[in-house]
């Protein structure tokens, strides 16, 4: 956990989360298999997000889900879940834990700040609490999850330095 910036009503912290990317058809069998491994039910509505104190489970599109662990788990456990899921021919689960970076964005001006980097419509009516989106932020592909009062943004790790520089750059201007 690293505090990246805190100014002008925006707080950004880098976090170490873990993640599994799951593909499947979302039908009954899928739900059962997934539910056996993960205590949360996979959300059924596109862009919907379920959460408990441990993780976020979000549906990214009709056949893709992301599971983000907000509290660091034993990596072995995560790999076990993945391999158990993959026992099923009709599911593909890939480990997204350490190839991604995670940023938590808070503060009253977070929308205005992020809208310097993305045209994505962050208004409540278009992007309600407990939903997610995949979009471009600072010209790179990002996932953005909206929880009460905060966003979690993740992107590929190779962009980490670039993305951090762009965030800090804007606060200084």
């Amino acid at each position: 956990m690293t505090k990246l910036l805190s100014a002008d009503g925006v707080d950004i912290t880098q976090k170490n989360f873990q993640q599994i990317l799951i593909r499947g058809d979302g039908k009954d069998q899928f739900n059962q298999v997934v539910n056996k491994e993960i205590s949360l039910q996979p959300p059924s509505k596109n862009l919907e997000l379920k959460t408990n104190d441990k993780c976020i489970f979000a549906k990214n599109s009709f056949d893709q889900w992301t599971l983000v662990y907000l509290v660091e788990q034993d990596y072995k456990e995560i790999l076990k879940i993945i391999s158990n899921l993959n026992l099923n021919d009709e599911i593909l689960a890939s480990d997204y834990s350490y190839g991604q970076v995670y940023f938590e964005v808070l503060g009253k001006n977070k929308n205005e700040f992020l809208n310097k980097l993305t045209q994505f419509d962050l208004r409540d009516k278009k992007f309600p609490d407990f939903s997610m989106a995949q979009t471009l932020i600072a010209r790179i592909d990002c996932y953005i999850y909206k929880l009460n009062e905060k966003y979690i943004i993740t992107c590929n790790k190779s962009y980490e330095d670039y993305f951090k520089k762009r965030l800090i750059d804007l606060i200084n201007l």
């Binding site: 596109n46 862009l47 599109s61 893709q64 419509d121 278009k126 979009t135 471009l136």
Partner: protein
């Protein structure tokens, strides 16, 4: 910049998407039985109408899903968006928007500024 209503993610700016050209072009089931000319038609020829166009888009910087769009290429107005699994809408649904022989409506095409 047009706004496209991704059937899975909602309205996003066109720059998040990639156009995939004409829709409903089916890949030949048995390419080997085609002659060079017919195969060439599949590989290189696509419709290019001025007016109603059935086309494919993919939400490259979002969910990465493909879907179909009916767009008036003379105004860039999107008339309908539907999933790949949906039926192709009939052209008669949209034809009322056409105004001139080459498919140019009076408002929106940019070639008319003054009302006569």
């Amino acid at each position: 910049m047009i706004l496209i209503n991704c059937p899975y993610c909602g309205e996003r700016e066109q720059s998040e998407f990639t156009n995939g050209g004409e829709a409903h072009v089916i890949r030949p089931k048995d390419p080997d039985i085609l002659n060079d000319k017919d195969w060439g038609q599949y590989v290189f020829y696509r419709s290019n109408p001025k007016g109603i166009f059935y086309e494919r888009w993919v939400h490259t910087h979002g969910c990465r899903k493909w879907f179909n769009v009916v767009r008036d290429t003379s105004t860039d107005t999107i008339l309908k968006i539907y999933k790949l699994t949906d039926n192709k809408p009939d052209i008669s649904e949209f034809q009322s928007t056409l105004k001139s022989p080459s498919g140019e409506p009076i408002v929106g095409s940019g070639n008319f500024a003054v009302k006569k």
